[in-house]
Symmetry: C3
C-alpha cells in the first residue's frame, strides 16, 4: 500500500483562529502520487479541531459564536487546577472533532462543491481552530 | 490496494429528513468485492450529516429535537447575509459530523448489533439528515 | 493490503465510565505488524464514544459534566417508550463520536504529545464512555 505522511505547522496569532488548509491538503496529495484512497487530516494538538464545511466568512463567525455558546470560556473548569486555562478549547475540540478523512478519487480530493469552492483563497471549508 | 467509489443521490422532500442508508452501503460493499478494510461514508453536502446509531423511530425524533436545541433554526446567523437561510443546518452538520468509517471484516460490514438491527427497513442506524 | 482486526471487551461498573484504551491500541498495532496506515478505533455499541484528548483527571470530569449539560439524563426521551432509559447516552454518543482514526507512521501510533502523554497509566486521551 502506498502511503505518505506530512506534518503541517501553523503559528496562529490569536487564541482562536480558523485556517483554511485545503490547499495544503491538495499539495500533499500531489506529492503522495496516490490516486485512490483516503487522506486523514488529523490535529495533533488536543485543543485544535478540523472540519469540512463552507469557507464563507459569516458562517465562520457563526461557528465561532456557536462553539462559544456550547463550550464557553470563562468557566471554572476542573482542568484549570493544573494551571491551564484552556478547558473550553478541549471541549470545543471534542465538539468539532479533531480529524476528517478526505476521499481521494482519480488523484483528486473528492469533495462536494461547497466543501471546496472555486473562489481563490476560499477554496474549501477545511479549517483548523487552535487555542 | 483495491478501492471502489460510489456516489449516492438522495432527493428528500422535507427540509430535514433521516434516511437509513445501510442497505446501500452493503450493496456497495458487495460490488467492491473488498474483504478487509474500511468504507468511508461521507456526505458531500455541507448541511448533511452521517452517523451510526440505533434506527429506532422515537430516538430519531429525539435526535431531531436535540439538534434543534443545540443548533436552532430561526436565529439571525451571519451566514444569512449571503441570502442563505440554512445557518442552523451547517451547525447541525458540524455537531453530528459528515462522515463515518464502516469497518469491513471478512467481506461484511463489521457493525455492532444495534448499529445494524435485523428488523427489515430498520437494518441500521446510519442516517443522513439533509436540509 | 495488510489488515488486522481485534475486538476489545470492556466491563464497566458504573453507568458512565472513562476507560483509557491507548495501551490496548498500541498492543494491537504491535500484533498487526503494520508500519504505515490507519487504525480505526470504533465503538460497536450505540451508547459508547471514543475520543482522543488529554487524559488529565480534572478534564475528564469536565467532559462528563459537559456531556451532561448538552445531552442531559432525566429527560422524557421518546426513545424511552421502548422501555429503554438511555436516551441521553445515545445523544452523548453522537456528540462525542463513536470512532477515531489513529495514524500509524514507522510502526508507531503517530499521536501528538498531549494525545499520548508519557506518564504511566495516563498514556493517552483515548477514552470510551459507556452507559
Amino acid at each position: 500500500m502506498k502511503s505518505h505522511t506530512e506534518y503541517l505547522w501553523f503559528q496562529t496569532k490569536k487564541s482562536r483562529e480558523f485556517v483554511n488548509i485545503t490547499d495544503k491538503a491538495e499539495e500533499a496529495l500531489v506529492k503522495s502520487r496516490i490516486k485512490e484512497g483516503m487522506m486523514l487530516v488529523s490535529a495533533m494538538h488536543i485543543t485544535a479541531g478540523v472540519y469540512v464545511n463552507d469557507a464563507e466568512d459569516g458562517l465562520i463567525q457563526d461557528i465561532e459564536e456557536w462553539l462559544g455558546r456550547l463550550a464557553p470560556e470563562g468557566v471554572d473548569y476542573r482542568h484549570h487546577r493544573t494551571g491551564e486555562t484552556n478547558g473550553d478549547a478541549h471541549l470545543k475540540n471534542l465538539l468539532i472533532g479533531h480529524q476528517v478523512i478526505l476521499p481521494i478519487t482519480q488523484g483528486k480530493l473528492d469533495l462536494g462543491p461547497w466543501q471546496h469552492s472555486t473562489t481563490p483563497n476560499s477554496t474549501a471549508g477545511d479549517a483548523s481552530a487552535s487555542s
